[in-house]
Subunit: 117 residues, 2 copies
DNA sequence: ATGACATTTCGAGAAACGTAAAAATATCGA
DNA sequence: TCGATATTTTTACGTTTCTCGAAATGTCAT
């Protein structure tokens, strides 16, 4: 992950529809979702969704594969991991505690926002 | 952190100069850096840097304060934390292991990219 | 007060982005 | 092969974003 790739990944997520799609894919897991279902879920035309999905895939945040006529999209966890690592790099230089407290609040069993019980 | 704020924060980071500035601020720590120094460091005019800094601050990723004629900018760790938490929400539904492996690679003592020895 | 310094606000042009209809491509069933 | 389905590519237009000079604002020393 270099600067350019990070900017591309962040730009891919910095759009309402795409951010929603990405989070939907994160929740959906490795099996992913069908392109058409995503277009329906987000209430946008197929061509618009295709454009967004292409951007997510180019940014390394989603992967796709075909099953007969259907195209599956799933979150690219490796890409997400690389992006977060890039953002967090050097975060704790001189103060590991600060970084630790930041990360601990993100741990799955500690996430509270965006994941209502 | 809601969807709109997350999009704003991601958009703030999805720009070459601003991403560099943010990472510089993350490295600089709580004392932050002076606006003019950031303009020099990034080689952009003061007005351009001011525009970028305003966007980072509006996005909740930076804070600023004045010391006589100088204006300090520092990374807003709480904002960064909220954004990462939002992105990670629901990441491990049904598969906590996947989320754990993702986070463990981000831990400060495991960061390798972007932080050359 | 006046001038010098640090930064922001305003304004305008160029470039990039989001949207979606229309046409093209790919796959399947009959 | 033909039509139907699923998706992408092409193309176009309106909007937003980026950039930076010029002017305005805030601060300090004299």
């Amino acid at each position: 992950m270099d600067q350019d790739k990070a900017v591309a990944a962040l730009a891919a997520l910095a759009q309402d529809t795409r951010l929603s799609v990405f989070r939907l894919l994160v929740k959906a897991g490795p099996d992913g979702m069908i392109a058409g279902s995503l277009a329906q879920a987000m209430d946008v035309p197929p061509s618009t969704m295709s454009h967004h999905l292409a951007k997510l895939e180019q940014a390394g945040l989603a992967i796709s594969w075909r099953t007969s006529r259907l195209i599956h999209y799933a979150a690219d966890y490796a890409g997400m991991q690389a992006l977060l690592g890039f953002l967090m790099a050097d975060c704790c230089q001189g103060d590991p505690q600060m970084c630790d407290s930041l990360l601990s609040s993100i741990r799955c069993d500690a996430v509270s926002e965006g994941a209502p019980a």
